[in-house]
């Protein structure tokens, strides 16, 4: 990927992005849906949360951590 493509990707914003507050409010529901229905179906049902988790590093980390906790990788 060229630098300009990478910069463009970083600067592009998704109008569906709901922001941290709403995404974190929904995170437990979203994670249970991912476990039960899979990532694709959950992203289609909650596109605003999915867009946010793709764009926001800290919320993406929280999502990964919560998913790990509920799927039993907590040891």
């Amino acid at each position: 990927m060229s630098g300009w493509q990478a910069l463009d990707q970083f600067l592009r914003t998704d109008p569906r992005d709901v922001g941290c507050e709403q995404a974190m409010e929904m995170l437990d529901i979203y994670v249970d849906a991912v476990v039960k229905e899979g990532t694709g179906a959950t992203e289609r049902r909650h596109p605003g949360v999915a867009a946010h988790l793709r764009a926001c590093g800290p919320c993406g980390e929280d999502f990964a951590g919560l998913l790990a906790a509920v799927t039993g990788t907590v040891s």
Binding site: G3, F10, C20, M26, D28, D32, P58, C59, V70
Partner: protein, 229 residues
């Protein structure tokens, strides 16, 4: 249900049908056991929940320990603090659990958030050295660009730096430089500025839009959506 509807529904206090495990957690934690055993059951449930939260906190801190730079006893202390604070928050908000997720998923969410917040504050105990002027030239690498393209990176860094100077407000510039140039984690910056992750994300969201519009207007970036050309 759309996200907006889901979020609006979050203000409703009524609780839907619960799965059996969640119902049992709530019954025990609210101390409504039969035959006067409620108090003992509640104490046992609190201990079990704390154990789950502590294990989750330890696992999450292990997962994040390398980038966060927290090891050994300090990490375990943070895990205990996160579990203690999460348990306190959960017991104080039991009436807000609506059963939209499993109880344990809802509860784990609190401890994951506590870990994030504590790591954000912990960052300032031993922050890395201040980034130098060459930090701007390393920005393309951070976005995943090919590091071999030095000339392109220098041009891009210069254009981006001018855009940041010319189009962003003072607040947007401060947040953008701290996160993108200096590499300060968003939660750490929120702790430093007395702000919130959500507020700083919105600041960055607006900054990204303004910079992109500026670069499109000056012919550096294409206005088309990817795959539309």
């Amino acid at each position: 249900m759309s996200l907006a509807e889901s979020t609006a529904a979050g203000k409703v206090t009524s609780r839907g049908p619960l799965d059996e495990e969640s119902r049992e957690w709530l019954r025990c934690l609210s101390g409504t056991g039969r035959d006067g055993r409620g108090t003992a059951e509640r104490e046992q449930a609190l201990a079990r929940l704390h154990d789950l939260l502590l294990r989750a906190a330890r696992a999450e801190l292990r997962r994040r320990s390398r980038p966060a730079g927290v090891e050994g006893r300090e990490r375990d202390d943070l895990a205990h603090q996160a579990a203690d604070d999460a348990l306190l928050a959960i017991t104080g908000k039991l009436d807000r659990f609506r059963g939209d997720s499993r109880f344990t998923t809802w509860a784990y969410k609190f401890v994951i958030f506590e870990v994030s917040a504590k790591l954000g504050r912990h960052y300032w105990r031993n922050p890395p050295a201040q980034a130098g002027d060459d930090a701007w030239e390393r920005i393309p690498d951070r976005f995943g660009a090919d590091p071999a393209q030095h000339a392109e990176s220098r041009e891009l860094a210069g254009v981006l730096r001018r855009a940041v100077t010319e189009v962003l407000s003072d607040r947007q510039r401060r947040v953008f430089v701290a996160i993108i140039v200096d590499g300060v984690p968003l939660d750490a910056l929120a702790a430093e500025l007395g702000s919130t992750r959500n507020a700083l994300y919105k600041t960055m969201f607006d900054a990204r839009r303004k910079i992109r519009a500026h670069l499109v207007a000056h012919g550096y970036l294409d206005d088309e959506e990817p795959g539309m050309s």
